[in-house]
Symmetry: C2
Subunit: 204 residues, 2 copies
Amino acid sequence: MPQGQPLTVPDDGLTTRQRRNRPLLMVHTGDGKGKSTAAFGLALRGWNQGWNIGVFQFVKSAKWSVGEQTVLERLGKLHDATGEGGPVEWHKMGSGWSWAKKQGDDDDHALAAAEGWQEIKRRLAAEAHDLYVLDEFTYPIVWGWVDLDDVVTTLRGRPGRQHVVITGRRAAPELLEAADLVTEMTKVKHPMDAGQKGQRGIEW
Amino acid sequence: MPQGQPLTVPDDGLTTRQRRNRPLLMVHTGDGKGKSTAAFGLALRGWNQGWNIGVFQFVKSAKWSVGEQTVLERLGKLHDATGEGGPVEWHKMGSGWSWAKKQGDDDDHALAAAEGWQEIKRRLAAEAHDLYVLDEFTYPIVWGWVDLDDVVTTLRGRPGRQHVVITGRRAAPELLEAADLVTEMTKVKHPMDAGQKGQRGIEW
């Protein structure tokens, strides 16, 4: 999308540079494809800027993101070896988060989701990453596993210059209200409707 | 997005495997963000599958994709050096396509766009790539620089197993009709509306 000029200039006392560097909360929602893919594309850009990238996947099985994970982790290793780009951490809820001392009960997704959010809160407070991808994070909120007010308050008050992108359907209005940028991906036509199953390279 | 089961099973005589591996024509349209970013995310996945990736950008200035270009070309070099992933070619219309013998008149975008499409036709006939990203390709069609019927006929009749993703606003109905998968990215909220200018890492 062309860069363009802003439609209005806010009376907030900030310089263009300060405004340009404001940390963004982004939400990709809707029932179409591309929500996570576009978020991982942002991570790709951020890596290229030397950003510290943290990906947190709130899904039980993340087969369909294995390609992005492999490549972004490979880029993280490239950073460690050559200094190119930035460091990358990729965490999946799956069967317990990788930072957890003991692997939790696989079936207690509510507990795992709450633990994931607590860790993200700690990292936000410590300004651990430049970009957080909270993939499918709308679902634990919808299901009541993570408290919406806590999420909104924490994200609104996060220190420093930390960008956050949240993906998933059914994003809460309060989350959209707090967001700087919201994109809705709408399914217009999908091959699964015509009997096509997912395929390697496209779906994962 | 979870993989899910198809809603219907078509009576086309194909096995699930044959149907699964069918080449797809994908269109990312709408006035929201993420159309190109999601397409480059697909390229990332394809690279990881060892696919031969060809990116063709039909925009004069592509400052905002420089991050993706740098990373995907870096991954292409990684392939050349280590055999990981697949090869990557990234071509920009900009001031003449890189394959052109002589650089054309910078200002003749109509001619440049037509030349770009002719080259893509040659590559499709030769089955040169596994995934083609035709970024912002809707515009030269809208502006009449590239013939819509020729595009639809060529894409419908392309040989082998070549995936194509086209991005850009105002995609023609005939193109959507020919597509297997269409996603519309809708702008719900954008920081430029609140006076925020584009920023590094987010917009490019």
